[in-house]
Subunit: 417 residues, 2 copies
Amino acid sequence: MNQPTKFQPIEMAVERTPQSLPRRRVLAGSVSALAAAGLAGAGTTAMAQTNAAAPKPLPAYVGWKDPNSLIVHSATTIETKRHAFGSGLITPSDQLYIRNNLPAPDASILVDRDAWELVVEGVNEPRTLTLRELKSIGLETIAMVLQCSGNGRGYFPSKPSGTPWQVGAAGCVVWTGVPVRLVADALGGMSAGMAFMTGTGGEKLPDGIDPKSVIVERSVPAQAMTDAMLAWEMNGVPISLAHGGPLRLIVPGYTGVNNIKYIKRLAFTAQESEARIMSHGYRISPPGGKGDPSQPSVQEMSVKSWINGPGTDGLPVKSGLVQVHGVAFGGLHRVAKVEVSIDGGKLWNEARFSGPELGRYAWRQFVLAIRLNAGTFSLASRATDAAGNVQPQGRIENAGGYNNTSWADHAVSLTVA
Amino acid sequence: MNQPTKFQPIEMAVERTPQSLPRRRVLAGSVSALAAAGLAGAGTTAMAQTNAAAPKPLPAYVGWKDPNSLIVHSATTIETKRHAFGSGLITPSDQLYIRNNLPAPDASILVDRDAWELVVEGVNEPRTLTLRELKSIGLETIAMVLQCSGNGRGYFPSKPSGTPWQVGAAGCVVWTGVPVRLVADALGGMSAGMAFMTGTGGEKLPDGIDPKSVIVERSVPAQAMTDAMLAWEMNGVPISLAHGGPLRLIVPGYTGVNNIKYIKRLAFTAQESEARIMSHGYRISPPGGKGDPSQPSVQEMSVKSWINGPGTDGLPVKSGLVQVHGVAFGGLHRVAKVEVSIDGGKLWNEARFSGPELGRYAWRQFVLAIRLNAGTFSLASRATDAAGNVQPQGRIENAGGYNNTSWADHAVSLTVA
């Protein structure tokens, strides 16, 4: 589904955000004009590197996010800047990317979160459960990479239609909720003959259009239920509207679109959904082609890594010891190893993981300490997962610009003074 | 676990919070008048319940925090509400407690973070390092419990002077920085004969007062260097002014005061600091007594846990299956086990940890699934660390109200309808 804007998105009120303000969290509440002036310059420079045109302000429904960490492609597509990724374990919510296939529902759905209703079908005792009931069934927490299927599309020379994401349509996020398998167990188990787990989003659909052409409904193999979750908390707080609250389906290891926001129906089904976003959207089509149900669907993620610093923030890097760092994850598998090259991939050095591992679906920070003389270097990283899969040098060309894991595409140039 | 036996619940000030209150982050930026109206009422009500007097607003330097998650005791002492602790792994920065011994410096110290200077002494090649230089020496990330020495003071019947914290002067936080041992190594190693690692904070001191009487300077045993860090990121972003940015000394396993904010001097010393906050402050004194250097200093944390839900938010809890959950940590040691009682400590059931372990200094979420009939229950949790230390039933009485790990003090009453 390359063109979610085929119908006119619901017009959203936009909150104006000053462009050159220092980071909200850092100086919010400060009355120091000096500080504001000082950081204004830095912010402007950084933004110029990622977006030559005037930056777009944050839409109102994500007005709580940090504007200086984000690139606003459109009201429903917002990317984290590469230099904004820190070396913490978890992506802060106010820096996390946004990619909504439909505009978010009205915020009134959050007034009584526990009253949210989920229809569960394809089990032996189908019924509707409230969020309050779901909370009594189980409680689990998982950290995982949330990544848009099209992250890295911006590196395709073919310029596929769709948002030209670079690295920032991804984050490592903590979800708390009830495991799907416990919900299925509580309702008598999955019905016989079901091969898929299908989630349906609760977005308001535009009038006068065949619902199947726009509804957000995705199917994943039923075995994904093993680690799937119906989540009500993200990063320790109730899920925001922008990220799918009050209830979101979480399918660890699968690309973002499979993690259904505002989920209103969870069904175990014999067939895949017939919604267009499933049948024609998010398919691996040949370059220039169009999606159809015969092509592979974009679902499981593959091993990937990229370098986040130093130098991506435009600050000068001095010769001597340098800490080259970034993130790596394995998709369905644990990431086992990361190598770093400073010469565009001729020679590789094994990097070290920093910080604890948060489970196989989370990303890990890696770092390589290396002495660099003055010069320009092409920094690349290459990850290997626990199953032995190695991040490839090249991308797999496809019409939608999906699943770009190419280490060459994700290389960055570093100038050392 | 058997049917609950009757137990006289410990009287405690349970916060009651209005139901169905949207949180600030959820609706911030929304243009919905409904939401705005709802929030206005909510905030007022919520605060009124934690403080019979008019609610205190957040001070400007922490104006970016979530007011509905916090109890403002004073401009420099702000506590997380018990019901606001979610089941994520990390405490969101905007919910994290504040306890500053002196007012924060002017925000201008953040204008050029990398230019911040740290004097390093008690090494064989003492010198001043900029934050930019520190960043080149090493990069590590650690998750740890940050807890005020006086957390739980509010449960002392003796009402010691100081902030009457309940559970909320604590959080689990991710720090990124350079290990202190790498900095010492880079400067020729620790000088001979040094027994302490002493950090000095960069707060502005009031004029006309002996600096030693107010300066924030603390000493910990030099061996704490092993896991200590000079940190510039908290929870994945540059450390805010309120939490000690641009540079903070992190001493995992030690109470909050030992983690020096705005650190300007790190010294390996033969003797403890003579600052009053070290010599007389934070000492375990007999009830009614005063601190002096002969008494034990408040440093290492001990095994502790508490229950965060359900019911602490005032929402009704229905009979049937209930997920009792909370947090547990071991201080210097990994937490190994948590037991939960629903009858005030007569019978105990082992709880399960949910989510990944983030290293021995982090807290873990625990959960016990249990069927409850209608009635009132006294919920308690009791943690055991990997060294076999068991969280005690009672507190150790002391004049300052420090180090309260009593499981009985931290019990909560739950009414099931």
